[in-house]
Symmetry: C2
Subunit: 82 residues, 2 copies
């Protein structure tokens, strides 16, 4: 298992409720892929959303996000953290 930071673009105007709903959709599906989405942070102005997860692979992160309806192309492993 590795930690990943993925970055969504083009989410201008996202609300707190929409962020919560998107995270909930990820949590409902993540178990099937062995992924856990820990946190997410959003900037409605630039339309950027950062998600922190622990997952077996970059592909597993992408599959959960795609099935939850918010596909992502930018997924970065972040093996180090403080």
């Amino acid at each position: 298992m590795t930690k990943f930071m993925d970055v969504h673009h083009g989410m201008q105007g996202i609300t707190e409720d929409q962020l919560k709903a998107a995270h909930k959709a990820d949590l409902a599906l993540e178990g099937e892929e062995g992924v856990h989405f820990e946190r997410a942070w959003a900037d409605p102005l630039s339309g950027t959303v950062y998600c922190l997860s622990e997952a077996p692979s970059e592909e597993a992160v992408k599959r959960v996000h795609a099935r939850a309806g918010h596909p992502v192309t930018e997924v970065h492993p972040v093996p180090l953290s403080v």
Copy 2:
């Protein structure tokens, strides 16, 4: 106070000890700017470091990182989080 995610590039090969030392240097200076650096995640392969902070402004985040020896240009407010 707003949460910010800042992104450092070009840190290829960063080690866990270097990440800890950089975070410690931020923590030693942050109080003077009213900033708090909460977490940081690094990918040594792509050389990317993400830092999550709570701060009065983007400029305050930049000043702490610059004074700590690792200036950053990319600082994004992330007012929403789950």
